[in-house]
């Protein structure tokens, strides 16, 4: 009961701070502008579609929809990492953490509350993204053929990983550095995915394999894998695969979050 109250209080306060964050407001406004700008040609293309050029137009419309979806998805990962790094750093910079930590709150409870606040923000983002996916597909004259829970759960698990990494690094370093490190880890994870051509040099192969297991394999957690707009390419996925993939993601996020809590436990709390 006590823990629930503390976590809820810190998480909702963190969420409230995000909603008033000027950088986030500017980011949101720019994001809406970009989406609206991309919707205009989409609507125009749809209006010009005739029976003779139906297939070509459909491919083009779907390409635009996919591009928007990819952008929305990528921006989400960046947002999760930034929000998590900022959530801790802002408290340290302003000194508000001292008043909070003078209360009967353990350090790990504070960090978990902050993390949940970030996930709350990302939850709102995912719901908006989910709505946008349907809207864009509808505007492209298509239907989204994926279960709703996939579009909600997969990005959340992916964002949970990025947020945990950024939070862990933010307990040790400047938030901007934390954000950059998270970004580089994400990019690094994509680079070390085993390709069709094996790496000839043994040292490089070992390094690549090591990093592949160490870095978050978020490509498995991409909802794009299941978000097929053309029914012909829809791939059926079993529950076992979903369970395995999501467990991997949640497990990764938890391990990193535990590392963040451990690191935060030993750091000095003072106004930066």
């Amino acid at each position: 009961m006590r823990l629930r109250t503390i976590l809820r209080t810190i998480a909702s306060n963190t969420f409230g701070i995000f909603l008033r964050d000027k950088l986030l407001i500017v980011f949101g406004a720019l994001f809406v502008c970009v989406i609206l700008m991309m919707m205009t040609p989409l609507l125009t293309l749809r209006a010009r579609t005739t029976v003779s050029n139906m297939e070509g137009m459909q491919t083009y419309v779907l390409g635009v929809v996919s591009a928007i979806m990819y952008m929305v998805s990528g921006a989400g990962s960046l947002l999760a990492a930034w929000a998590a790094a900022d959530a801790v750093a802002t408290e340290m910079k302003s000194g508000t953490i001292l008043a909070v930590m003078a209360r009967p709150v353990k350090r790990w409870e504070f960090l978990l509350g902050k993390y949940l606040g970030v996930l709350l923000l990302m939850g709102c983002y995912v719901v908006m993204m989910f709505g946008l996916s349907y809207l864009l597909a509808w505007m492209g004259g298509q239907r989204v053929l994926a279960a709703s829970w996939i579009l909600l759960t997969y990005p959340m698990v992916r964002y949970a990983i990025y947020a945990a990494i950024a939070m862990a690094v933010a307990t040790l370093a400047h938030p901007v550095l934390s954000w950059v490190v998270t970004l580089l880890l994400g990019l690094g994870a994509m680079l070390v995915v085993p390709g069709e051509e094996p790496i000839t040099k043994a040292a490089l192969r070992w390094l690549s394999t090591g990093l592949y297991y160490l870095l978050p394999s978020t490509q498995f957690l991409s909802e794009d894998r299941f978000l097929n707009i053309k029914q012909a390419t829809l791939r059926q996925t079993g529950w076992a695969e979903h369970l395995l993939t999501l467990t991997y993601g949640v497990d990764y996020a938890l391990v990193v979050l535990l590392l963040a809590m451990w690191s935060f436990h030993y750091r000095s709390l003072k106004r930066d």
């Binding site: 008033r20 000194g95 001292l98 008043a99 930590m101 209360r103 709390l269 003072k270």
Partner: protein, 326 residues
Amino acid sequence: MTVPALEFLDVTKTYHRGTYRRWPGGQQVAALSEVSFGVAEGEVCAFLGPNGAGKTTSISILMGFLYADWGRIRVLGFEPGDVRAKKRIGFVPENFAFYKHLNAEKLLRFHAKLAGIAEENAAKLIPDLIAKVGLSSYGKLKIGRYSRGMVQRLGIAQSLLGDPELLILDEPTSGLDPSGRKEVRDVILSLKAAGKTIFLSSHLLSEVEQVCDRAVIIDRGRVVRAGTMKTLLDTGDQVEIVATTLPEELEAVLREWGATVKRVIAPNVSGHSVSVPSVSIVVSGARKREIVERLWLAGSDVLRMNPVKGSLEDLYMNLVGKGDAA
């Protein structure tokens, strides 16, 4: 046996400076060196020292914000940072910072939730606390628009949430105007009367002298004097005799006896309509009768004779030097 409210025994803390501060060769600064003091339950203890003496570091260690390198620290019988102790502590940090988007009521509600105070109790308590620190008219105003003094008052209000047994106040009157300082002093006195333990860091020595039972004076990370206010300010049986004149031969005798002689301008006293040049003689009580008789015989008027009471400011200046007392 009662547990002391605060226990600080041989506490040492070193800061590491520079980019690669923990690497060999990094610069080290000793913030605290074997600092020891204790505060008993129900005491009001002042923690004094110049800027950079180690006061905020000590308080941060007590609150569990920083870890000491060495030493034993107990707060209400628990390790620093233990939630069982923090439930019973009210804390005002130096340069208090709050969430600027909240107003006083919302902020106190936020802290009440963290302190585990039931909502119905908080609803009754919060308006009273806001009124106690004189912020009733500003309860709905966002904290971002508060003045420095108003923020400080709010800090004191939040520290009183949950009726704490121990209050740790780091510069609680900084940024306050004289009336605000008086209000805070009255709050401290009322808490003292209620039997609360208060650990107070301040530069306002005259106020500390009025409210505190004990003082710990720290300089450059070391305790230079600690004790009850009575023992710290005790000057023995010395008396001050103020006379109109002092013959030279008598002055030489007085100096031989170890008396302090100063030429002063005495304020209006009976028989004199204006301030007059006079002589102040501070001497052991055992000699007072003899000196007064000699002064009279030499034709000097004794204007007044009072027991000497030491001031905290004098003690502080003697111990840590000039430039910090307010």
